[in-house]
């Protein structure tokens, strides 16, 4: 059994798992859109690829969960390369609409492939995603993102976002870096999708539509583009708000829409725009730094719940 599983009431555990998965997904998108500035409106497509791949791996080939997760991430990354290679030379909104288009195409194709169940989708995926596993993966992804951010690679990505021509003139092969970044972002999305698949147990193409991509994008923008703590906060807030607003059933999405507008007007750079873990650390805010919490060192992997 996992270290964290069963400590909390099942409802909270379920929400925390969802939050964790969304943090992972949002961090992947933050790398693409926040750090490198390439607007991606089709992030859910890569999540979808990861989810389907891992589900097939678990169900048809009986692979261990870790293999299924990695396979999901890798195939999503491979698709990221295939899609990214021709499209990443487009800029701004043209890239955005291409990523959106790919998402819709993928959905449309999945409806027509009987091998993955068409509209009925895949069902009976073993529920292997536990809070412990999500937490471990999330911590790994957060640490990776922090490391990327403060590396030569991360600086190159920000340079591309800030001024692509100046970046090229300073020795950065923008096309190559964008492609690497895009596939890394897609890899993370694929992993998030794999965790999702093994929590929800059922996959249908319509779960991964444009709205899902927008939902993840909202998390990144709300938290503050390019800011890792911001993205984590954004994912947490936006995943919990609908849960908190649960009782206003009919008015919930109405409020959600209004909240987005208000947020952008009063705080266009997001809740924590420009805040990084390093800057928090520098200010002595040790309690927000990853690795400080006692639960950060899980002794063993949780299997099954």
């Amino acid at each position: 059994m996992g270290l964290l599983d069963g400590l909390l009431p099942a409802y909270y555990e379920s929400i925390l798992i969802t939050v964790g998965i969304y943090i992972i997904l949002a961090l992947g998108l933050n790398l693409i859109t926040g750090v490198t500035g390439q607007l991606n409106l089709g992030h859910a497509a890569y999540m979808c690829i990861g989810a389907y791949t891992s589900a097939i791996m678990s169900m048809h080939y009986g692979m261990p969960f870790i293999v299924a997760i990695l396979a999901g991430g890798l195939l999503a990354a491979a698709f990221g390369v295939v899609i990214g290679y021709p499209t990443l030379r487009l800029t701004g909104d043209y890239l955005a609409i291409c990523t959106l288009g790919f998402g819709e195409i993928l959905k449309s194709v999945l409806y027509n492939v009987p091998a993955v169940g068409g509209a009925m989708g895949l069902a009976g995926i073993p529920p292997k995603t536990t809070l412990t596993i999500v937490f471990i993966v999330m911590i790994i992804v957060i640490i990776s993102m922090v490391r990327v951010e403060s590396s030569r690679f991360g600086r190159a990505l920000v340079a591309i976002r800030e001024d692509e021509i100046a970046a090229e003139c300073n020795g950065i092969n923008a096309t190559k870096y964008k492609l690497q970044m895009f596939s890394l972002g897609c890899f993370i999305a694929g992993i998030g999708g794999a965790l999702w698949a093994h929590k929800i147990m059922v996959l249908q193409p319509r779960d991964f539509g444009f709205l899902k991509s927008i939902e993840i994008l909202n998390m990144v923008v709300l938290g503050g583009l390019g800011s890792i703590p911001g993205t984590i906060l954004g994912a947490t807030v936006l995943t919990s708000i609908p849960e908190i607003l649960r009782f206003s059933s009919e008015y919930r999405m109405l409020l959600y829409g209004a909240l987005l507008v208000a947020m952008m007007i009063f705080r266009p750079h997001g809740l924590m725009g420009g805040v990084s873990f390093n800057s928090i650390a520098k200010r002595g805010m040790r309690w927000l730094k990853p690795g400080d919490k006692p639960d950060d060192k899980p002794g063993q992997k949780g299997m099954g719940g």
Binding site: V148, S151, F153, R155, A159, E162, E168
Partner: protein, 254 residues
């Protein structure tokens, strides 16, 4: 053997010939200035050399290598670094990180290296920081290393661009109007800095409007007008050249 050689280089934008079969030679260790009226094609020459535009005709050779068709990042790695007329820093990044980016082509940690943070990567990162600090010190900006580049005053932003370019250990430094918008004290400092850069063994190729600045610093001056080179020689020779005077004061003088 010259360091950089432009041989009948031409570029056309639609019907407009921005640079018209220009020949230009830069020798190692000199300071060459390219001057000319507005729209003469000076910055375009820089953009051709740094691979932003591919030339329509002609060849550009750097240390016996053809630069035609090479990408900007490749050219940077070969040892050419530049600044921009309309400052192109990475505004949201801190000053130090701007310079660290400049070191990019002289370091090699990959994505995986960044993720694993191997000792080699850590050592490289340290070296990058060291180099970046040196460059900042050289341009007198080390006390501002943690500030966001966008918050620097104009003159310091120009100096930061030079620091960033220096971080890649270039042999040839292209400076696009480095003195623009500076007051005379700042210019004086800048002249010192550029001269000391040349004394470090670098070759400096600059585009400038300010005649006094150009004449004071340059070993040689070339003049462009309507995309054509109309003069090339020592500052005093160029100042006396009737074509140059005509280009600056108007055709009716001729």
């Amino acid at each position: 053997m010259p360091l950089l050689e432009l041989n009948e280089v031409t570029i056309r934008f639609g019907g407009l010939i921005a640079v018209d079969s220009v020949d230009l030679v830069i020798e190692k260790g000199e300071i060459l200035s390219l001057i000319g009226p507005n729209g003469a094609g000076k910055s375009t020459v820089f953009n051709l050399v740094t691979g932003i535009y591919p030339p329509t005709a002609g060849t550009i050779t750097y240390k016996e290598q053809r630069l035609n068709g090479k990408k900007s990042y490749h050219i940077n790695r070969l040892g050419i670094a530049r600044t921009f007329q309309n400052i192109r820093l990475f505004p949201e990044l801190p000053v130090l990180d701007n310079v660290k980016v400049g070191r990019h082509c002289r370091s090699k940690a990959s994505v995986f290296g960044a993720l694993l943070r191997t000792p080699a990567v850590k050592a490289e990162e340290k070296a990058i920081e060291q180099k970046a600090l040196e460059c900042l010190e050289l341009m007198g900006l080390d006390h501002k290393k943690d500030e966001a580049a966008k918050n620097l005053p104009y003159g310091e932003q120009r100096r930061l661009e030079i620091a960033r370019a220096m971080a890649s250990d270039p042999e040839l430094l292209l400076l696009d109007e480095p003195a623009a918008g500076m007051n005379s004290t700042e210019k004086k400092v800048l002249v010192e800095k550029i001269t000391s850069i040349r004394d470090m063994g670098l070759t400096v190729f600059l585009v400038e409007h300010d005649m006094k600045f150009v004449m004071g610093i340059s070993d040689r001056v070339a003049v462009l007008d309507y995309g054509r080179k109309i003069a090339d020689g020592s500052p005093t020779e160029v100042q006396k050249n009737p074509d140059v005077i005509a280009a600056y004061l108007g055709k009716e003088v001729v």
